[in-house]
Symmetry: C2
Subunit: 239 residues, 2 copies
């Protein structure tokens, strides 16, 4: 059975402007791989309504699961929740369950639950909340889309609570062989091995070290015996 697929939508001008280097994508990629879900595509778009809605609709139609990051805070540039509602064609407003969580949080801290903070309780009809143990304002799940915060500590907490709810696949195993020869030397036989193991993904990642060329050959797949077999063939050829 093929592994389930996922896509990620990152909403953030700060990454596209080069101000911030993305960390959430790398974290999510690693966590999905652990549970046998194939991250197949990532899109990064700016804080623009049309761009968010159309990217979301393309990704949710093409993949089993979509995870979004960013744009669910209290400020004017936080438009993700409203865009998700638009993409799904559902109503959105401040919802009682989310508002109650936030009201209690601000009461405890003696802070005002003002209109800006109420934006963080805007949840599309039909969505279920994703817990935020770090700063309370929840994410939400609607259909196959999981909407999470962009702040890395919050994003990671939300990923940790959503991943166990997803249908994973056979764990994707990965083995790497380091070869101290340039890719051009190994490409011919490597291509033959890749053709012999159509169920495995065999990639070659070149590097340069102290002026010499080398390559890491990475074999990935969910059948451990096949991965071992391919690694043995590679070792025989290139070691």
């Amino acid at each position: 059975m093929p592994n389930p697929t996922a896509a990620m939508l990152v909403i953030g001008d700060e990454i596209l402007s080069g101000r911030t280097r993305d960390a959430n994508m790398h974290h999510l990629a690693q966590e999905l791989t652990k549970v046998g879900i194939n991250l197949r595509e990532v899109r990064i778009v700016s804080d623009d309504r049309d761009a968010i809605v159309s990217a979301l609709n393309a990704l949710r139609a093409g993949h089993d699961t979509v995870i979004t990051s960013g744009g669910i805070g209290p400020t004017h540039d936080d438009i993700t929740a409203d865009c998700i509602a638009e993409a799904f064609g559902v109503h959105i407003d401040v919802r009682d369950d989310a508002a109650a969580l936030l009201q209690a949080h601000y009461d405890r801290r003696g802070m005002e639950f003002n209109d800006a903070r109420k934006r963080m309780a805007r949840i599309p009809d039909g969505a279920t909340l994703i817990e935020n143990p770090v700063s309370i304002a929840p994410g939400f799940t609607i259909g196959n889309v999981h909407v999470m915060a962009g702040v890395p500590s919050v994003f990671q907490a939300m990923v940790a609570s959503v991943i166990p709810t997803l249908t994973g696949g056979a764990p994707i195993l990965s083995q790497t062989l380091r070869v101290d020869r340039g890719e051009g030397d190994i490409a011919g036989p490597l291509s033959q091995i890749a053709a012999d193991f159509p169920d495995l993904s065999i990639g070659s990642y070149p590097f340069q070290q102290n002026g010499a060329y080398g390559s890491n050959i990475v074999v990935r797949g969910s059948d451990g015996a096949q991965v071992d077999h391919a690694m043995a063939r590679l070792a025989e050829l290139f070691s």
Copy 2:
């Protein structure tokens, strides 16, 4: 005049599997910002022909410039050049100018210019070469698409040679005000300032430090007087 727009297409299973953390996107975002080109969208796809072709066609139709990264080496998983030719509907084969560069390079090193290495001389008809001072195998430009290597040192060298050929815009200026208050406190007035300066992009990026909430407010735009004016309003309100 609005700033020109750009998109990036990253081709790489190694990023989607979490094996590698992308560096090229962050570099390109910073370099484009310096010359007043707005990076509006990034897509990361796997080494899959259909995924590459359809992402490329969507991005080149929607943006002034597209830059791709990855998949132009000598191994079986390097399929970018062929996908670009397919997207543009043009013929592709080993081209004499690219082959001559590589032949001379391998002759100098006493290495064989074998079939695998000849893959790196496959250039779509109508494309012009992008120089690779690091490892010789060229990138290429076709239409508004610039095809570059994924190895960061090579990618950076190719970006450096292509950027001066692009039509830039007014430099995008950026100023940041650090505010030691939570986003929920500042969101109301901030939203008013954003509405008062429709030509500026005003973003709020929350952080937590020693248990206290704060936010960096970033004002971006190409009109320096407007940026200064908005910053003065912000400082008045939040300092």
